[in-house]
């Protein structure tokens, strides 16, 4: 094992050097002659039909070259503000580049560059690069524009009340969404690039003063450690920085919602935004934050508290109900009330399978239906739901393959698993349901209890960036119960949850409970 990973590391190192030689030789300065620079870039972009090289003369005399990628750049703006302006101007041969920028080109975002790598990066990000003869520096204009999805309502995390904006695939739209909500300059966004080939932009966002500096340093270090060829989704980053890779439980929260991200930033967590995906990573997280929806904070506190408890109950049901059913049918008839037992036994009479097989059959079918429902083309959706409802529901019962109570159990379990607001947390619980069913089928209630114990031990060992996963019930932190066991009204949420290290405890002014006697002026 050790030698294998060592080999892999060696391979990676040599490979990385090779790719760097191919695409980005480290720090090649730009030459004075335009022809040299052009040749160099043309070599690098050989066989890249989407890269456009446009030669022209500034003021009809000095040779210049604009390079951009078709489709990533605002072409009209480039023509109007750069090319036509420069072509019509008159320029002394030795004028400094900065003057050119300041006086002639009406583009707000522009940057001077001195190496080939910087040029490549700018071009790749859609910023056209201008090379001028007899200049050892180039200019990149901030004229990137490519087709992107509009800001839409997030699909996986719907709310009845609350903002309907969701993140998009474009990193700068996402950072803007955050900045629009948190306007303080204390909101920091550190940008870095990850991925040898994709050069994906990753932003580490946090609020200075609220967040624990050590936490930021730790995340920064973990991100810096990543050596990968490409990052296509934040899932890559998640798997590369989490604490317990073998656990079924996600230790990093993913969300599509800017409001969830902002809420977590305000509680002292960090967010990792990855270009190319609407899913933002939030860490550290706990089991309970995976069971919370953003709407909990927008509804009235009493309603939210009730819904939270309903959610906890149904999370337990989603985890345990099929196995409880199996255990009761197989081992513990005496626990079922007699009248219920009789009707259950009657409906099970024709079923040829033991309860465990029946439950497994139905649960697996249900999972398959769900997976098919996510992947299938929209046009055939109706067909699948009809087949699912009719064949798996009614027909299976009529044919005597499964009993009606089992169908009910599976249906309730299915609904329960959709109650978990974060899809990924739901997957963990759905996965663990199957070993639980086997335990129930072999040892009855004892098996279920053993399964629960093992799950709880596992949960109590994992940490998300230093925060115990079961906070605040194991270890107990009574001050944080106000946001887990209940959802206290906002005027009671005076302290932030404690994550790691030093933190800014006080969140808001004390004693803000409203009432008829509390007018505008403080008494």
């Amino acid at each position: 094992m050790g030698s294998l990973s060592e080999n892999a590391r060696k391979w990676w190192r040599s490979h990385k050097q090779k790719t760097q030689q191919q695409t980005a030789p480290s720090h090649t300065p730009l030459q004075k002659q335009l022809a040299d620079n052009e040749q160099r870039l043309r070599d690098l972009y050989a066989n890249c039909s989407d890269v456009v090289f446009r030669s022209f003369r500034i003021g009809g005399t000095i040779r210049a070259l604009a390079i951009y990628i078709d489709g990533l750049t605002n072409q009209e703006e480039l023509e109007r503000s750069v090319l036509s302006v420069l072509m019509q101007t008159k320029l002394p041969k030795d004028s400094p580049l900065t003057k050119l920028l300041d006086n002639l080109v009406p583009v707000t975002k522009s940057r001077e560059m001195s190496t080939v790598e910087q040029c490549l990066e700018a071009i790749a990000n859609g910023n056209p690069v201008l090379l001028i003869d007899q200049q050892e520096r180039a200019i990149a204009f901030g004229l990137a524009r490519w087709e992107k999805r509009q800001i839409e309502e997030p699909v996986a995390e719907g709310v009845v009340r609350g903002p309907r904006e969701g993140f998009t695939e474009s990193l700068h739209v996402n950072t803007a969404l955050l900045r629009r909500q948190i306007k303080t300059p204390a909101l920091k966004m550190e940008q870095m690039q990850i991925g040898g080939y994709t050069q994906t932009q990753v932003v580490l966002a946090y609020i200075e003063g609220i967040v624990d500096e050590d936490l930021v340093a730790e995340v920064r270090a973990r991100l810096g450690r990543i050596e990968i060829d490409g990052v296509l989704e934040s899932g890559y980053i998640e798997e590369l920085i989490e604490d317990h890779p073998a656990s079924p439980f996600p230790q990093i929260l993913t969300t599509e919602r800017p409001d969830v991200t902002c809420g977590n930033l305000l509680e002292g967590r960090i967010a990792i935004l990855v270009d190319g995906t609407p899913f933002v990573l939030i860490a550290p997280t706990t089991l309970f934050s995976l069971l919370q929806s953003s709407e909990d904070y927008y509804q009235r506190s009493l309603a939210s508290t009730t819904i939270r408890w309903l959610r906890y109950l149904f999370t337990a049901i989603s985890f345990l109900l099929p196995s409880l059913y199996v255990a009761l049918i197989t081992f513990h008839h005496e626990m079922v009330p007699t009248s219920l037992l009789i009707s259950m036994a009657a409906s099970r009479e024709a079923v040829p399978f033991p309860a465990l097989v029946e439950a497994l059959l139905m649960e697996i079918t249900f999972e398959a239906l769900r997976e098919a429902g996510v992947r299938l083309p929209k046009q055939v959706g109706a067909a699948v739901s009809i087949v699912g409802a009719l064949v798996i529901g009614q027909a299976a019962v009529q044919a005597g393959l499964v009993s009606a109570p089992m169908v009910i159990v599976v249906a309730i379990t299915g609904i329960a698993s959709f109650m978990i607001p974060h899809y990924i947390a739901g997957i963990a619980i759905r996965l663990l349901r199957f070993p639980m069913m086997f335990l129930a089928g072999s040892l009855g209630l004892l098996g279920i209890m053993l399964g629960i114990i093992v799950t709880v031990i596992h949960l109590s060992t994992i940490r998300s960036l230093g925060v115990p996963y079961l906070t605040p019930v194991g270890p107990i932190k009574v001050a944080e119960w106000k946001d887990t066991l209940v959802r206290a009204p906002w005027w009671m949420m005076n302290t932030r949850p404690h994550l790691t290290g030093d933190y800014q405890k006080i969140r808001q002014g004390a004693n803000q409970k409203p009432g008829p006697k509390k007018g505008g002026d403080p008494a």
Partner: protein, 383 residues
Amino acid sequence: MLEQGKISSAQMGKMIFLAVIASAVTAVPSYSGKYAQNDLWLSPAWASLTGFLTVYAAIALNKLYPQKSVVEYSTDIIGTIPGKLFGLLILFFYIHMTGLIARGYAEFIIGNFLPQTPISIVIITMIAVCAYAVKAGVESIGRTAQLFFFFFMFPLILMPFLLRDMKPDFLFPMLEHGLLPSLKGALIPQGYFSEAFLMSFFLPFVTDRGKGMRSGMLTILGIALMLTCINLFILLVFGTQAADYLYPVMVAFRYISIADFFENLDSVVMTVWILGMFVKISIFYYATVLGTSQWLGLADYRPIVLPIGILIAALSFWSIPNLNQASRFDVISFPFYGPLMQTICPLLLLGLALLRKKGKQQSQAQMTMAPEQAHTHTEKQEG
């Protein structure tokens, strides 16, 4: 140190609470009822005296040797060889007890819920789960204990449903034969109370050790109250018949019927009791593993978790062919063996340690006054 984890004194208290009460709750009403008759509700109070003494000894010893467990400081107090021998005895006691507790747990499960399942399966699955917990470390055990503590308290809410089956007449005549029967009935429970000495293994990892004494004493008080409560309930429901049942608590819960629909709530009690038993076995198991590693001076305790698990499983079968033999130990030996190892010996250790400290202080004091005299004094002490 072998263990990197840290727990709070509240977590330790809950661990000890579950460890003592998990096995006491099923058997004590029956055992106490046998000797104390209708005074059985008094017995836990007497028995708790052992608990208080034990906690005192464990915490006082920990104050003298804050970073050490009993296996380590015994060599400091009574010398290397006797200390090591004592450590071996303690370790043998704990590994043996773990096996017997696992056996008691399995007998209960087989007897009440899974009559068809082979006992070895019940024992081995539990030891495997506990091994996982022990490997996860003291922090995990502390957190799970904290979580399970609440679940363990749940059946108490069901107690009021027994009210209509209760007859206050069973309480009387009170103290008909004086205090002796209730004292005799306390003999077996006080064995369980002595198990509080397990905290000696956990105290070095407690962060807020200043609260250790308070939380330890509160734990004992809580156990005594809960046992008194349960004994009282059992007495009021069954009268002196309580002793005829092996597990009267389970029988009582079978009586409960809520709205004529929820019946046979003994399964609820069993599920919750499994949680308590898990904590109990894990703690004994952990103490054994940690103690063994300290005794042998190992670098890590995790690798020996599973081998010791095999030994525990073996001990749970060894010379116990049936349930009678299992409960024979509980009645004949445990009420004396447990307190001997966990209360009397620690108290003796504490006495010796205090004497030794006093001697040292005196010699130090003499040293400052008359160095030559002090020299002869220390020599004498060593000889």
